[in-house]
Symmetry: C5
Subunit: 315 residues, 5 copies
């Protein structure tokens, strides 16, 4: 995600960071060169004057507007839904840590902690919630979660995790087991268990919805139909403009193509919001927020610092 | 669902897989041939020059834009809602297995498992949840669920299922009975029973919403009015263009008809997202994900592998 | 609701079933006749040439597009929300029957069934849920519910129902009493009572939302403003077209008026989706689905068959 | 709210009840007179021919369409959300009365009713729910609630209510106290208390959301920008049309201004849906529905009759 | 937020308070001066006549309409969601105070208040809820919360709060602890604890969603692409208009630029609705409402008065 104020004045046109230009310059160049050629030949192609006026472009503009508007909205909806889901994860993690600390009681006298380890089961659950966020991020980005998860889990558990096909689901089931331990030990009754279980379910829901966005692109036929229409439009445009605009034709075609291709490329980028390109969601920074909140709840010492943008960008 | 990257360069125009062209080539051919005829005769029909200018198309463009935009949005909304519902089923199944394993206790000493079979009732509930997903898919696709369900149920239960008019509802009631057994056996109290019951209700909700989408198309009169307008528009278009565009008329009519008919056919395809055509939802792959997650939760051996796209397509 | 595939080829234009033409033919005829008169007189009205060009129609097109698009969307939203609410009723009824059968225990030994009748209270509750759906439908359609409800209730109860001003509310309160009986008899504890009560509340919610749609039309001033604009547009259109289109004027005016009046009439029809006209929701078929599901849950003998479309239509 | 069928034929244009004309006739008159003056002078202002063609209006049409479309949608959304909230209040009130009557048990033997009055606490809670609806309506309409609330409350309570700054909140807290009494008296356990409390919370939510709509208009700068653009558009329009339309100019300007100002005025009216103007929500009728339902639940004698529209209008 | 009625007549054009003009006058001036220069030179730039007609602006209008419409809607959605979230906070606070006072019982005989302070724990929880709203506001506005929070908390707690990196989260955890104390003291059972905990979770959810809006702007590339297109459009416009409009060109360019830049600047302002500029949300007034409601619930003496608009503005 790019974090910067809107540039003003001339810099508005010179800013390259965050500009979509770097993705579309090839198509733009081809279109503009074509427009120059058409302008120089006066729209004559193989001894035939191509009699296109601006009428076809008005007619084609109608489906194109529907396509581009639709794509724009659906891509942004996916982006924003992805952001909402991670916001949901942040708040559910906060609720989870509050619930663990206030609803789970101390170990009853005469009993040892059911999990048989020296760390309190409440802290372990909260650590696993941090691990859940990291594991989900790595799954969405197809990246390697080893380094981050190792420090949050015991060596034994980490080895079991490495074998699981769906890491967040594995961690979630471990949290379910922890809850069971607390219930067996009499540290919580079934009513409050149900409350915490509902929080776990909500975290699963957020994770599964992220997977849905990742795994289900906008139907391919849509994208294909849109691209074909947009490209045809821009390639034919110089023939329609050359008679009335003359030497200004390549300039106008370039601007129109810039907006069309730019809108399209922007849609491509944000419709899959969990990647690492410039406009994608800063999942790393969000996971860090979760980690900070939850470690502070446990009054831990080694609380990391929030990420700051590097070159205006958060990843 | 088609899973592939967007083709670039010339291949963008040559790709047939996933193109809507295969569905609309007949209408497109008729329209283009008509345009050629009109071009050759100069717009004269039975000794009468048809005096259409582009004005009627501008006027008709207004309701057409409303129709196509509406249809496009409502068809995609149905598609995306269908996808969300199956995502919901995935996450509810995960929650269900976690809840079964962590909230249902072991058989109390001195009691035998209430269901009187050798499989644990928790495993049976989870198997039935897998069966629920498969049964729902087969119901939505009007296909035969025998093969898949047989392996998940006992022979006796499977025979009863075969007689039920609504298979997912039947399976759901069996899960309700299982829950009752656990409650009677004292393996779970009523509070946690209510939690699991709520998860079952959410699975019923997802299933019923899928049926709603399947059984309620966009009102027929809409579709009829839209088709008539779109076809009239394209059939009349050559008369309006021939005077200004000359020999380019069939080409322009072809492009315009391609986008209109394509948008319309695409709507037809995705408005019923549970079928097996190219752009429909990959229900089989999603059911497989559910099966993998739930079998892994039970630490079973015979976990199937996820589906991979065949010829870029998941079904 | 009309259930049929989209007609293809020439039949697309000849289909009358489900066409909106039967509702708008009068307005359409008046407009077309007017257009013919204007064409014959060349746009001269009482010795004055009406100097309308197409410009006013472009200007008026803007608010008209906003009106028609808005009306189209809001009418469909009402239709689709109505359908969702009945889908909700289907699923809540299924959940209700599952909950009644799995969460309510048998009559405890040494107690007689608290309701003092020979039918089990669980069956009675489920019968009342079926009656609730029927009563809601009849209330929404202002039709007589006597016949259907009589067979589902005891004679005594049916007489009390006949006096109630709000029949679904009356039935719901009886279900609440049944639940109380179960609670008093110790067949269910308060936790599971709360679960079933929540299901009842959800059924009330669906019913009340249907009433909201029925009782609150789109604000009258909107409709009035829209109609006036659409009619003025179509009546003035021939004056604007006659100079450029000549004898084609009535034809073009006819098409444009067909789409405008059609879109408008379609909105009229589906904005009140609970009626019995061609495009309204098939409430009878949905109620039948509920009845089948619930009677099958009770393993009853006299399960009715689902409705099949008559002349492509479900009511 | 205006309740009437759509007028047909000539009456469509003559209906004044519900027409927005009464709100905009001044602006409309000014615009039309201006258009007549411009027509008579041929667009010459102080010896300068104002060379406006229709081009500026096409260009200005774009932002204007965005403004009017946005305003139209957001105003209607507010209207419809307001209606939903009152529908929510209706259903929550019904649920509340059902829950009070079925979940709260009788006074246990050996205890007197904790509230120490002769009316049962359940009836008192339901009366307070009726009062809540009335108080909310009066608060939203800034009207005096004395008359209606006096008959529903004891003299003592009514006096305390009169001093509270937020009457619905005061009543809600009294209902909370009633619930506490029931809990203390052992007439209900904590589980069912939580259910009823959740219903109270939902009623608070509906009320607070109504306040939100009332207190937060569409941002003033929007409205200002929209009005300025619409007025400038209509005042300049005659200069742009006079050359091509001649004596028809005032007529066309009048129609265009009617749709623009009408759409705008309609937005003004329904964006604050809780008032008492013609298109506002019939809060009084809705409150009456609540009162009827709840009094019938209590089997009271003095059940009022539903409101009928007066001169097609419900308030 | 600006609270005033719409000005009528001439004042509509003279009002500066709330007008967006103060933000865009620089760009507007540059554009208009450029238009004057172009008009004076007749569109000749360095001895070359720039042959732009209005065609490019029609073509560019399409993507521009998509951009501006999208931006307008998404900015307003953010604004309205922000408002909804604060409405949510208001109602949850009201529910929280009602629940604290009606669901938490008195200190049981023979026990002292577990928190060991002289203020009742219920009052302390409600004070903390007030502090939560203030802390959230200060966090969203990056302002200093010292003054307001000091009076609501004990000196000791205030010092701990000052060190916390996330103040609302810290306060929420303290409320969780309070709830735990009540539970330990037997003043509330686990069922009602779960109800109050759910209210706390909803408050956390509202707060986290506000942070999401604050921290995630509309993707920068969108804004950049939109600004570039809008500026290019307005800078080129005089060349396209000068031939047909003559000396009216600067006037028309000025109006068009005013609407485009105004729409854009308005989006800039309300897309981050938690600031203190003229059209932002009146968070201070909303916090005051919460404080008044909650202090009145506690029957406190020092209830502050609601804020009144200063110079038509609430902050």
């Amino acid at each position: 995600m790019i974090v910067r104020d809107r540039p003003s004045g001339l810099r508005l046109f010179l800013t390259m960071r965050g500009s979509i230009l770097s993705r579309i310059w090839k198509s733009l160049l081809v279109t503009t060169v074509l427009a120059i050629v058409v302008t120089l030949t006066g729209g004559v192609l193989m001894h035939h004057k191509i009699t296109l006026t601006t009428i076809p472009f008005t007619l084609m503009g109608l489906p194109l507007a529907i396509f581009l508007g639709f794509r724009n909205n659906s891509a942004y909806d996916r982006y924003w839904e992805g952001r909402k889901l991670w916001g949901e994860l942040v708040l559910r993690s906060r609720n989870f840590s509050r619930q663990c600390l206030s609803l789970v009681g101390p170990v009853p006298p005469g009993k040892v902690d059911g999990v048989g380890v020296d760390i309190d089961v409440r802290a372990r659950m909260i650590h696993r919630a941090i691990a859940f966020a990291h594991a989900l991020r790595h799954q969405l980005r197809d990246s390697d979660s080893t380094a981050e998860l190792k420090s949050l889990l015991t060596a034994d558990e980490w080895q079991r995790l490495a074998k699981a096909s769906h890491k967040p689901h594995f961690l979630m089931e471990r949290m379910g087991e922890d809850l069971r331990h607390c219930l067996n030990d009499g540290r919580i009754d079934t009513v409050l268990t149900a409350s915490i279980d509902a929080t776990l379910s909500a975290m699963v829901a957020a994770g599964a919805a992220c997977e849905r966005i990742k795994n289900t692109p906008i139907p391919f036929s849509y994208t294909l139909l849109l691209h074909r229409t947009a490209y045809l439009y821009c390639f034919l445009l110089p023939f329609g403009l050359v008679d009335s605009l003359g030497f200004m034709t390549p300039f106008v075609v370039g601007i129109v193509a810039y907006t069309f291709f730019g809108l399209d490329a922007l849609g491509d980028e944000i419709e899959e919001p969990f990647g690492v390109s410039a406009n994608d969601l800063p999942l790393e920074a969000i996971c860090r927020v979760i980690e900070i909140n939850l470690r502070e709840s446990l009054a831990e010492e080694n609380v990391p610092r929030p990420f700051a943008p590097v070159d205006y960008q958060l990843t």
